[in-house]
Symmetry: C2
Amino acid sequence: MEKTKVAIVGLGTVGTGVAKLLLDHGDRTARHAGRTLWLQRAVVRDASKPEYADLPEGVVTEDLDDVLNDPEIKVVAQLIGGLEPARTIMLKLLESGKDVVTANKALLAEHGPELFGRARELGQCIAFEAAVAGGIPIITNISQCLSANQILSLEGILNGTSNFLVTQMDRLGMSFDDAVAQAQELGYAEADPTMDVDGTDAAQKLAILAHLAFGAHPRWADIPRLGVDQLDPADLQYARELGYRIKLLAVARLGSEGLELHVSPTLVKAGTPLAEVQDAFNAIAVRGDAVGPVFYHGLGAGQMPTASAVVADIIDTAVGRTRLTFQTLKQFNGDEQPRVSLRPFSELPGRYYLRLHVNDSPGVLGEITGVLGRHQVSIASVIQHEPANDGTSDVVPLVIMTHSAPEGAAGRAANEIENLDCVVGKVIRLRVKVGE
Amino acid sequence: MEKTKVAIVGLGTVGTGVAKLLLDHGDRTARHAGRTLWLQRAVVRDASKPEYADLPEGVVTEDLDDVLNDPEIKVVAQLIGGLEPARTIMLKLLESGKDVVTANKALLAEHGPELFGRARELGQCIAFEAAVAGGIPIITNISQCLSANQILSLEGILNGTSNFLVTQMDRLGMSFDDAVAQAQELGYAEADPTMDVDGTDAAQKLAILAHLAFGAHPRWADIPRLGVDQLDPADLQYARELGYRIKLLAVARLGSEGLELHVSPTLVKAGTPLAEVQDAFNAIAVRGDAVGPVFYHGLGAGQMPTASAVVADIIDTAVGRTRLTFQTLKQFNGDEQPRVSLRPFSELPGRYYLRLHVNDSPGVLGEITGVLGRHQVSIASVIQHEPANDGTSDVVPLVIMTHSAPEGAAGRAANEIENLDCVVGKVIRLRVKVGE
């Protein structure tokens, strides 16, 4: 049987999982690849670590040149996170004639056009299934399986850490900080979870999906985004009372006026599929003009789900499918004009959840509805509970759900309300998912 | 831009949808295929039908030879149902040098090894995404996206007609016959819905999936199967009372003793994803040893969802991906030994729902539990309502949920119970889904 030599750069959690699949299940990968996939090298920073002792003699090396200078190594899984040295290593791999598989979404979101352009010049290819949604093969599904469709919308829970935190806050009434501490203990959150919880990670993934599904060329940093780090358990509780759950939704939706793109904690109707995504799971609801709605649900991160995607890419690359897709689709082509324009965030319609604290005095509700009315934001429902009857406070919480209004108008109305004398503290404003 | 000429054989519902996508969205298919996909011919039985008048001049023909003798036509979507002449036409297409795309699951389930063997001999390939689950791209997901995994289990709602009928019976308390009449009116059931409602269609699809996911070679006709045609609204009602829904589940599950395969109306815990699949939707829950659980939900039939899958296959075939997959995976290879053995149905463990009518007299429950006990079938819960207190009947319904027991033992116990003097009429026995 033909043999394709493979290397891994970076034996962290995912790299170790990839090595395990290649070494322990050679029969399985050979059956799907039509050839033996042979793990020739794994490049690490410190080859003396005890956990590498189980790997076959000669596989582990600290020298990238052992990969670059071995012309028999055709496919390399580049599994180093961050931008540098990941970018430089990827360029070196391409320049030495390797096809590259990567799980690094930040690298693609930041340097996609450069890396893909260089790969095309060199006649090499890049596979990146593991960069978005881990075990859910959304890249191949959009690029290949749903290729007969104009994708109309794509709404996803793309950050497992955020979803785990929100699920725990909702289930146990925990504060955000306590949920983070617990998630760190359980291995669901990094020591510094900033990029996960502030919406950066989801925005980078959304930028990649928006490019593949819509031909948009958004810079991830330009995607309007909020994270779950400002969520208060009180909002999860009110959402529940209103028949909703709060999820960190990444949304791309095509309309006649362009593409809507944003990442925000969003109230999603309870009982609908996205609302019921629990713990560290990811899910993506896609709507195509021919296929209609297709819903995907699976583990978005973790060692073996991500390794599953990386090894599928290694197989696709060894078989030659990746090369065909890469040549045909010309993903991340910097010379290509975007096929859609992005709608300005302020113009996007949306429904909103507003929570504020007001003095319990006559005329307050009228004042607030007056501001909303002036900004043409109409009210769908209100929750105002009676004040605590022990007389300790004359400040009461007020929750308002609006009908559809432009983001900009809703934001201006909320600001104006926050400045009213009868309003105490900040106005919390969250988006509400429209449609199923 | 390069041009690949395409033909369609059979302009029924799906064929018309495929023609529509090719003709109206040439820019889209060209972008994904890297070449223009040009609809050269559509072979029909009666070219004079008024609905063909909109197609471009010269496309519609009654003569298959117009396709067979045109060497420029490289890819043919063969969209005729049934076994003959579909089989003969497919062989002719392969022999004249065409790659073939088909949606005909019955043909593959019955003649897969012959057709795939011939295609391999001739150096041609066959694509069949649309044969299972319509718009859910489960074939590509199993064959390609999840290829790093040993699939452990696959549980699906694969027949949209059955699911529509069960949903309506459950929602409206309709009888099976009334639900069929309504489904026929709405276009969700064929004039003769036998193959859909008796489990044949789901068993054919399960045979294809079991082959791809597990390397099994089951004959579809050997797969134990029950349909929804015997379902009584009373069972849907009792299931609901017990916290379940009834769904026609197709199950393939790998264990140390072999592969479990069957199609049966099954009680599925309410609130779990498969239980909440409504109307004509399909869904498939896959579990892989690396990726964990992945859940797919979408439209399993209908013109445009199925056309979406056919056109994705046409694109994959034109790009060359299908050929690579076909050469590598050697699907439906009659010379290959199955990689798993099938477990005898009688040995399969399962939980069961039993419903029967008993005389309301002392000792009856004891007699029945005695029979179950002798067959080592233990009881998890019982519903026995009081008899109608108007004295009109002394026969009462009794519903029993069992713990896990082998199918054979449960069947023998149910038969023995049916023959007890205190039992009136038949014993209804349904499987209960184990696990999430």
